[in-house]
Subunit: 587 residues, 2 copies
């Protein structure tokens, strides 16, 4: 097991045995531990003292289902706090199969328009991975749909790619790290928190992983691992949400559009309503039916990364049957659709593809455009205007830089008070006033407004792990705390968060996750340890944030949501500050 | 004595007797007390829950010399913390003479492009001030050099005016509140912290004070007051810096250009050097000599406000003898000159006048342009480019909005790491690496980077109140703390801070200040109380900031100043975090 340090200041690298203290860490547990330990909390996020850490999860690279996940971590230029943003891609599995448990990018190359790439490959003679630098300047300033094929052409097919788009070169707060999908497109993301800009700030454009000859992940107890894996597979294949031709496989994550709209929690036109009259036109069902019409067949979804059996990635097709965009995630669909008053899937797909090409976080982009529409720069519902705004970001114009700064930043540029963001990060597709638990997660998460940090939507809306009234604040601090801790463990394990939708209802699936981890690591964890292990990760993140100046005063929902009732339920966000503060105080 | 509350939400006002608890407060003491008590620390600074408070100082409106000062206070849209920004103008004296000790603007008018004005006048029949609203929409969107004459034309000559420029309508972080000078120009400022935008956000464009029939300030003990006043006058007329035809009266505040340049502490080209090769061309001496050449006579400076005997306000003249700009303050001269690599007084004057017309803080503007020049938007030294950038701000273009957001904001838009700002506020004209005490003031002041908050330049550079080595950090935390507390008292008294340059050396002047206050209020303060009374103000401000999320982690100098040595002394900012934290911990 290896930890690789790459120093961009002097373009050197060191391949080190993984320190004992890190042996049971993976994914978010690894990135947050290293960032909390090694990054000065008050450093400039785009300066030489920030570090960008990549870590595959504990079971990533193994046959554990739905586990080709990698965490990227750093101090975030968007929030100013610690950030972990995980994505699914063969890149994750390839890093794990190289037995690299952490890749730490340090320092900063001198800027003169020059960018570098890294190529990690297995050095069979030395029995360890090796790192080579290559000049990546020619890939800078270009659309990633142009860049990725060139990189494949240069390095061959047996590689995976991560990189930043022009957004990361510009230093935007909404710049993502982009990974290849199975069709080699630049569509899989460590999306949130501006980590693409941390990568770009270091003069690092691309990280190419060559998978030839890699030894694969060492599994300590194959039998136990296999037992766990089977339990996990059974759970995922059984649950209505995650099973083949189930909700996610049929409609993709966009199945949530109608569900949230029905619940009055689909933020519409910059969070001014919880219902969108055009919801049905952009819903997962509309994608499925639209594809059926345009392709003359039923199209079920595909995997975003190797080994996923949920397979929730959809593709939207043009009227002539060619591909428009893959994937139209719920969050992207909402952000660039309902939140902007746009109800046309073709336009939404156009915007998603542009974001992929420029390396932009679709959530942050849509939340930002919503604010800018309210500011009157373009009207709500103006698809072409919104498309043009994304091009402004791609071109790095002054307007593009305002938008690229993210929701809170753009709101400030236009003196707006209705700005849906926490710790500088734009809110995702669930309304805090209509779903109180997720509001608590937005407010208190170490990540800023992040639905994945503690997805209380499961019980509050989906009826997973019981059913709770979304409108009541009662008991929701504890609910969010529990979800945040469990999530930190799942993000550490290397599984996609969507496994939770099954294993929260199917106890054997939860056991399976822990057995998979024990099988790989030789640990003796039980499901009772999940909360504790997750809490340790959260505590490290929280400590970093407090040292970076993000104390409990930043654990708050924007003022307008406390005073402005949201249709149709006409509720405000009525969770007390005491309840918010209890989430981490009682962790 | 009156406290007036104006509610912009329903366009009503209440004239109330001044509460007993506020009877010994004035200026900054008054505004900070009211803001700390009444404004929710986490409210949106441009929302209805922020309050904008104006308060004349304790002796403002009396014959005390150099005391026509008004404090404006609110939660700052620039720093996110409490803000007091004081300016000198007849407006201050007129408010005091109306026996109004605090004017509190609350709520928010509904926006639809409509702006309001207030006219405060003395109601002789009622024996109290009265407030009238007038429609000020026609003054919106215009240069203040166009607006002010129209307001005089409407209300007559016996008025004073405060207002916000277009910058305040746009909601910029660098929008100031602008007051009339003796020649009725819009050139006197509550400059820092974006208070013009707080005014604009409330739908309030102008506040007109009609001085006819006002009763004047009540003085409790005339004899004591007069004794104090004479001591103060003697001190100001004696000290080399403040006396007639002394340093300030001859060269203006721009006398500091050569002094700081010589000390290696004049920030040049976005704080990349402490020496500017063009310093002599923009120095106060060059202004004096240039005017002499162009006017064919020696021109000494004038008062910015009634009753000032220091009279430091200069005017720069065009080659044909017409007025170019008044006043070319040291800070403006530096910000738009040395900090941008510009050494042409005519261009600097053009920029100052544009800032005045748009209502922009010249310090924030110049610090921002310095960062933007380093980002490569225009080159250092490009006067015409800089002039164009100020016009962009005036027009509210996307680039203008980036710049209007201030130094830290613009730096973020361009992904810059060398950004001279603390708590979001751009640094003034003294280099922390060359003058350690002022760096401590920048870091720890409740106001963000603010030289006036604790002007340790006096002993560190000017030899006032002793002489201290500017390059050593030793003892500077205590020095800054003492200056910050004394300053809070001076800002409360209603005197211009420049009196400190005399009374720190002349003890009887210090006594005079306290006796003036005692004379007005009937208090029994001694000079020994100054530190304690000032500290009370600072503690209220600090508590507000902490509740607003600005804890000690924000009391830091930017990272690059800790690692990048500054020519010519090649020093970094080497004050420890412990020393910084001790400033308020030991207050």
């Amino acid at each position: 097991m290896w930890l690789i340090r790459v120093n961009m200041t002097d373009l050197t690298s060191r391949v080190e045995p993984l320190p004992d203290a890190y042996k049971h860490l993976g994914g978010r547990g690894m990135t947050s531990t290293i960032v909390a330990k090694e990054v000065p909390p008050l450093c400039h996020p785009l300066g030489p003292n920030n570090k960008l850490v990549f870590a595959p999860g504990i079971v990533t690279g193994t046959p554990a289902p739905t586990s080709a996940r990698v965490s990227a971590g750093a101090k975030s230029p968007l929030t100013g706090g610690i950030k972990e943003s995980n994505g699914g891609s063969s890149w994750a599995a390839d890093l794990a199969d190289m037995q690299v448990r952490a890749l730490v990018i340090e320092g900063q190359a001198k800027k003169n328009g020059k960018y570098w790439g890294l190529n990690l490959a297995w050095d069979a003679a030395a029995g360890q991975p090796k790192v080579e630098f290559f000049d990546a300047t020619k890939y800078a300033g270009k659309d990633l749909f142009e860049v990725f094929p060139k990189v494949y052409a240069k390095f061959g097919d047996k590689i995976s790619i991560s990189g930043c788009g022009v957004s990361g070169e510009y230093g935007y707060g909404n710049a993502s790290i982009v990974y290849n999908d199975p069709a080699k497109r630049p569509t899989r993301y460590s999306g949130r928190g501006g980590l693409g800009s941390v990568m770009g700030s270091k003069g690092l454009k691309l990280i190419v992983l060559s998978r030839a000859g890699t030894p694969g992940v060492a599994i300590t107890d194959e039998a136990l691992f296999d037992q766990g894996r089977k339990k996990m597979i059974d759970a995922l294949r059984t649950h209505d949400i995650t099973k083949p031709k189930g909700a996610l496989n049929t409609y993709g994550t966009a199945v949530l559009i109608n569900i949230l709209n029905e619940a009055g929690g689909l933020p519409t036109r910059n969070f001014s309503s919880g219902r969108f009259e055009g919801a049905a036109k952009i819903a997962g069902e509309a994608i499925f039916e639209g594809n059926k019409q345009r392709l003359d067949k039923e199209l079920y979804n595909h995997a975003c990364s190797p080994g996923c059996i949920i397979q929730c990635s959809n593709t939207w097709h043009n009227p002539d049957g060619t591909e428009a965009a893959s994937c139209v995630e719920y969050e992207s669909d909402w952000a660039l659709g309902a939140n902007c008053g746009i109800d046309n899937l073709d336009d939404i797909a156009t915007m998603i593809k542009l974001c992929n090409g420029y390396g932009l976080d679709t959530i942050e982009t849509g939340a930002t455009i919503g604010v800018i529409m309210e500011a009157g720069v373009i009207p709500f519902g103006d698809s072409q205007g919104a498309i043009n705004l994304i091009h402004e970001m791609g071109k790095g114009t002054p307007l593009g830089r305002i938008l690229g700064g993210g929701t809170a930043f753009a709101g400030k540029a236009y003196g707006m008070t209705r700005v849906p963001a926490v710790k500088g990060q734009g809110m995702p597709a669930y309304e805090p006033r209509a779903v109180k638990g997720i509001g608590i997660t937005y407010a208190t998460s170490t990540m800023g407004a992040d639905h994945t940090a503690g997805y209380t939507i499961a019980p509050e809306i989906l009826g997973v792990s019981g059913k709770q009234d979304p409108l009541t604040p009662e008991g929701k601090a504890a609910l969010s705390r529990g979800f945040q801790a469990a999530t930190a463990f799942i993000d550490t394990s290397g599984h996609c968060l969507f496994i939770a939708l099954a294993i929260l209802d199917i106890a054997s699936g939860m056991e399976g996750m822990v057995e998979e981890c024990n099988g790989v690591l030789g640990t003796k964890w039980t499901t009772a340890d999940i909360g504790r292990l997750g809490a340790e990760v959260l505590k490290a993140e929280r400590a970093f944030n407090e040292a970076a100046g993000l104390g409990k005063e930043t654990d708050r929902i924007p003022e307008f949501m406390r005073t402005e009732p949201l249709p149709p339920h006409n509720q405000v966000f009525d969770v007390s500050d005491e309840a918010l503060d209890s989430v981490y105080a009682e962790l």
